[in-house]
C-alpha cells in the first residue's frame, strides 16, 4: 500500500488532466472510490466520462495528476500498468468480443494466457460466469450468432473471468436495442450485490437510482457535481447538472 494514498480508498484520482490536441478532455479531476462502492457517472457527450474511466486502466494516458489503483500508481512502467489491469475489468459500449473465437474461447483466453490456469480450470470458471450472466447454453457459439444483449453479457463474463476487484462500464447499454437493455442492467445489478467495486458511465437513471452509492456529473472535462443519489436527483446544486437531469429525465 502506497503511503501517499489513504488506505481505505481503492481508486484515487488526483488533479488528473488530459488533452486531445487542443481539446481539454479532463480538467483537474479528483475522485476517490472505496472498496465495494458503486459510482455512476453521467454527463453530456464529450464531457470526459469515458476518458476518465479509460484512464483508470490506462487505455488512455493521463498527462497531469496522479492515479492510484489499490495503492499502485499508474505510470509508464509496464509492471504498474499490468498490475493495475489485472485488478480492473472493463466493459465497452461496442462489446469488443473477439469475433473469430467462440464464447467459451473469448472467456478462457485471459485466464489461460495471463492467469496461467489449466484448460479445465479456465473452462470451469468460464461456465460458472456464463451461468451468472444467464447464457451458459451459448458457450459454443460465435459472437455474431448472439443478440446484442447476449454479446454484452458475454463481454461482462469475459471481464469477470479475470476476477478483477474493480469493474468499469463504458456506456454498456448505449449500443443496444431498447428491449435488450434490461437484461444487461439486471446482470450489472446482480454484480453490484456481490460487493464488486464499480464505476459505470451510463444514462440509465433508473439503474443509477437503484445501484449507485455515489452519482457523478461531468461537463467539459470537469466533475461538476458529486453526491449520493437521493441528493443528486432531488436537489442538484449546480445549474448545469439541473439542466442535464431535466433533459434526460423529461421522457
Amino acid at each position: 500500500m502506497n503511503a501517499m494514498t489513504p488506505s481505505n480508498q481503492l481508486i484515487v484520482l488526483e488533479d488528473v488532466s488530459k488533452m486531445f490536441g487542443d481539446f481539454q478532455a479532463l480538467k483537474d479531476v479528483n475522485l476517490t472510490v472505496k472498496p465495494g462502492e458503486k459510482v455512476v457517472v453521467c454527463g453530456p457527450s464529450g464531457s470526459g466520462k469515458s476518458t476518465m474511466i479509460r484512464c483508470i486502466n490506462r487505455l488512455e494516458r493521463h498527462e497531469r495528476g496522479r492515479i492510484f489503483v489499490d495503492g499502485v500508481e499508474l505510470t509508464d512502467k509496464r509492471t504498474d500498468i499490468d498490475a493495475v489491469r489485472g485488478e480492473v475489468g472493463m466493459v465497452f459500449q461496442q462489446f469488443n468480443l473477439f469475433p473469430h473465437l467462440t464464447v467459451l474461447e473469448n472467456l478462457t483466453l485471459g485466464p489461460l494466457r495471463v492467469r496461467k490456469l489449466s484448460k479445465a480450470d479456465a473452462e470451469a470458471r468460464a461456465m460458472d460466469y456464463l451461468a451468472k450472466v444467464h447464457i451458459p447454453e451459448q458457450a459454443q457459439k460465435y459472437p455474431s450468432q448472439l443478440s446484442g444483449g447476449q454479446q454484452q453479457r458475454v463481454a461482462i463474463a469475459r471481464s469477470l473471468c479475470m476476477e478483477p476487484r474493480i469493474m468499469l462500464f463504458d456506456e454498456p447499454t448505449s449500443a443496444l436495442d431498447p428491449e435488450m437493455i434490461s437484461e444487461v442492467l439486471d446482470v450489472m445489478s446482480d454484480l453490484a450485490e456481490t460487493g464488486m467495486t464499480m464505476i459505470v458511465v451510463t444514462h440509465e437513471m433508473g439503474f443509477a437510482r437503484r445501484v449507485a452509492d455515489t452519482m457523478v456529473f461531468m461537463d467539459a472535462g470537469e466533475i461538476v457535481e458529486k453526491a449520493p443519489p437521493e441528493t443528486f436527483f432531488t436537489k442538484p446544486r449546480s445549474e448545469r447538472c439541473q439542466t442535464f437531469l431535466q433533459k434526460i429525465l423529461a421522457h
Partner: protein
C-alpha cells in the same frame, strides 16, 4: 468438395485453349511430335519438361514461406507509434521494392558471394532473391491487414491484460489473416510466375527446361505452348486452393 468444381473449370479453360491452338494450327506449321506421348522421344521430352515442376514448386513455396515470416516481422515495426521504429519498416519496404526481381536474382547470385565470402547454390540464391523481393510486399499486406482490425479489439485484449505477443497471436493476427488471404493468394501466384526468372542463373525449373529443349529440338512454338499450359494449370490449381481456404475460414467465423 468445391475444389473439384474449380479444377473442372480449369480443365474446361484448358480444352478451349487447346482447341484454339488446334484450329489456328491450320496455318502455322505445328510439330507436336516433339512432345507426343506416343513416341519414345516425345515421352522423354515431356518428362524432361514436367521434371522442372518440382523445382518451380520448391523454389516458390520455400520463398513464400520465408517472405511471409519476414514480411510479418517487417510489418510490425511499421505499426509502432514511435517514428524511428516506423522508419525501419519504411526504409526496408522502399529499398527492396525498388529493385526489380531479375536484378535482385543476379545480384544475390553473382554479387553476394563476393562481399559475403560465401558460396551460394542456384536454388538458395533464387529463394533468397524471391523471398527478399516478396517480403516487402508481404510487409505492406500485413500492415494493412493489421491496421484494418478495429481498435476495440486491441483495447479488449489490453483490458484482459494480454501482452503484446499474445494480443497479436490470439486476437489480431487470426482476424487479419482472414482479411488478407486474397492478396496473399495473389502474391503466391505472382511468386510462382516470378520463379521463372531464376532460370537465368541456371535453375532447372520449368522455364529453364523449356529453353534447353528448344535449343535441342528447334520447336519453340510447341515447347513454349506446353510451358504456358504448365503455368496455367499450376496457377489455376493454386487459385482454387486459396479460394477454398477463404471459404473454409469464413464459415469458421460465421459472419
Amino acid at each position: 468438395m468445391n475444389i473439384f468444381k474449380h479444377i473442372s473449370t480449369a480443365r474446361t479453360a484448358l480444352l478451349i485453349l487447346l482447341f484454339g491452338f488446334a484450329v489456328s494450327g491450320c496455318s502455322a506449321n505445328w510439330g507436336w511430335y516433339v512432345v507426343s506421348p506416343s513416341t519414345e522421344q516425345g515421352r522423354i521430352n515431356l518428362g524432361f519438361l514436367l521434371g522442372g515442376l518440382k523445382y518451380t514448386l520448391a523454389l516458390s513455396i520455400t520463398a513464400i514461406a520465408i517472405s511471409v515470416v519476414v514480411g510479418l516481422l517487417i510489418a510490425l515495426p511499421g505499426l509502432s507509434e514511435k517514428r524511428p521504429v516506423r522508419a525501419i519498416n519504411r526504409v526496408y519496404v522502399e529499398l527492396v521494392r525498388a529493385v526489380p526481381i531479375l536484378v535482385l536474382i543476379l545480384w544475390v547470385y553473382y554479387g553476394l558471394p563476393q562481399i559475403a565470402d560465401i558460396s551460394i547454390s542456384v536454388f538458395w540464391a533464387g529463394v533468397i532473391a524471391l523471398a527478399l523481393s516478396d517480403s516487402a510486399f508481404q510487409a505492406e499486406i500485413f500492415r494493412a491487414g493489421i491496421q484494418s482490425i478495429d481498435k476495440g479489439q486491441h483495447e479488449a485484449a489490453q483490458s484482459i491484460s494480454l501482452n503484446y505477443t499474445d494480443t497479436m497471436r490470439y486476437v489480431i493476427l487470426p482476424q487479419a489473416l482472414r482479411r488478407i488471404l486474397p492478396p496473399l493468394g495473389n502474391q503466391l501466384v505472382y511468386m510462382l510466375k516470378m520463379s521463372s526468372l531464376v532460370s537465368v542463373i541456371g535453375m532447372q525449373e520449368l522455364t529453364r527446361r523449356a529453353n534447353e529443349l528448344v535449343v535441342t529440338e528447334y520447336r519453340p512454338l510447341e515447347v513454349y505452348t506446353i510451358l504456358v499450359l504448365e503455368y496455367l494449370v499450376l496457377i489455376l490449381i493454386v487459385s482454387a486452393g486459396v479460394r477454398w481456404l477463404e471459404r473454409r475460414l469464413r464459415s469458421d467465423e460465421r459472419q
